[in-house]
Symmetry: C2
Subunit: 292 residues, 2 copies
């Protein structure tokens, strides 16, 4: 088996892959579409890509590419905590407080706002394409008094020293990663926190209350929705599709019944996947979602 | 009156401000939060910021800042077409096809994918913070064989020559801009395409079907919803708030009735604004939204 992930090495996606698939060979890809195309072209057996972050919301490129560009099912979901650390070149470990510039992904810099404001006030920061790329850059430029914000694996992979741990503002920050594959990936069902079904629905145009009707088809069956997200159809302002997560595995009766009803109402419906979900990097099992 | 907008000069936001408020002095701000803070601090009378694009979806930073950080109403909405042009330094206008690098905002580069693939295949592109910043950079570096993708105003403002017009893939691309103000901004109601009310709702946690109940409060009153968007509450994965656009101006009966019902069900509800909406830069009046 070969896995692809959103690289470079030591991104948070890489961390999730190593925790979930410790025995699997894995290959970094530069972009999320590149990762999914590699599944399509059978360069890899499955891809792991971020799909939602607790602070930033859905990863639009993942949803859009799954809906508009490739016909690949979601086979599993992994939720991982996001912990950011400040790291420097080993030569500067002692005098890290003299740092003159901080490199990271823009989201990571935003997530560490309080720490940066208190401990490194006024030090400029520069955005990189990933936290891992920032760590690599800091390692390759030892002449600069630079620091990176990245995860533990990046410090290890690129040989940096962590000088301050857990500098993120919010302790509950998590990211969900989707496992995308042509053929079913063997996941250990006994370790799953639960099962979900993800559905994409489009509405018949210009009918008031259409979304309410869609939700009724789930509500009267007591199908619990854990997420609903709208995305533009790319056919003009005001045309959306909806991504709906149902808190159960696809069955033979309730979900097919709801789908048939929606189609009869003029909606487009596509099941994007029915799959187990997992949580890694935590000792307690706390369920990740609330009910809508 | 003084307006603030997401700068620098000659962004699409600046274009919208000049079309909508031709007589008003306007000041560019570097960021969307900076723009809204300036309203709060009374440096300006109102701000114009992008809130949704037909291809990219909602502008999350605008929604999040309005909901989490500032208590300012939306007073109006402007929809403007997005037309991208290729422009170069006047010295290179003749041999523009020898361009060696293209600068623009990442969204603009993505929006011109087909043109770039056909007419400038293999030429590298580099992301800038805005299309206007790209135009400025190209002007300031005449020694480079560089091109920018930006709007007409940017070519004029920074003295570049448009060598290829309307290079965007989709002709229907539009952006919606919100007018944010402490005090009501005088807008010409007779020129409005219509009126909208934007509501933010949070759901009581862990109750199946809560979103369905929320939509019911609107549906049985025949209140037409033109948009529903979920955003993370930033309190943990799976906790969302919803932004709902109702296709009518706030009244004394229906909308207050729906809000009271939602509050009785345990939802948090806040009206973010009730305002006229406008379309600029088009001769035909085509209504921008469909019904949900």
């Amino acid at each position: 088996m070969k896995a692809g992930y959103l690289g470079p090495k030591a991104t948070f996606t890489d961390l999730a892959v190593r925790a979930m698939f410790p025995e699997t060979e894995s290959i970094p890809y530069r972009t999320i579409p590149g990762c999914m195309d590699a599944v399509l072209n059978e360069e890899i057996d499955f891809a792991v890509v971020p799909i939602e972050n607790a602070l930033e919301g859905s990863v639009n490129i993942t949803l859009d590419y799954l809906v508009h560009e490739v016909d690949l099912p979601i086979c599993g979901e992994i939720t991982a905590p996001i912990s950011q650390h400040l790291m420097v070149h080993p030569e500067h470990a002692e005098e890290w407080q003299d740092t003159e510039i901080i490199y990271s992904h823009s989201h990571a810099i935003a997530q560490c706002h309080k720490f940066l404001h208190q401990d490194l006030r006024g030090i400029p920061s520069e955005n990189m394409t990933s936290t891992a790329a920032a760590a690599q850059f800091v390692k390759e430029n030892p002449e600069m008094k630079a620091a990176a914000i990245a995860n533990e694996l990046a410090a290890e992979e690129y040989g940096l020293v962590i000088v301050k741990r857990n500098i993120h503002d919010f302790q509950y920050n998590h990211t969900r990663f989707a496992v995308i594959s042509k053929k079913p990936v063997k996941l250990d069902r006994t370790k799953a926190l639960g099962f979900k079904t993800t559905v994409m629905a489009t509405l018949p145009s210009d009918r008031a209350g259409a979304l309410h009707q869609v939700l009724s088809a789930f509500a009267w069956r007591k199908l619990n929705l854990t997420k609903i997200e709208s995305r533009p159809m790319k056919t003009g302002l005001g045309n959306y599709f909806f991504i709906i997560d149902i808190d159960m595995e696809a069955d033979d009766i309730l979900i097919p019944g709801a789908v048939a009803e929606l189609e009869a109402l003029g909606c487009g419906v596509k099941i994007l996947g029915s799959y187990p979900y997992y949580q890694i990097g935590r000792k307690t099992r706390d369920k990740a979602s609330n009910a809508h």
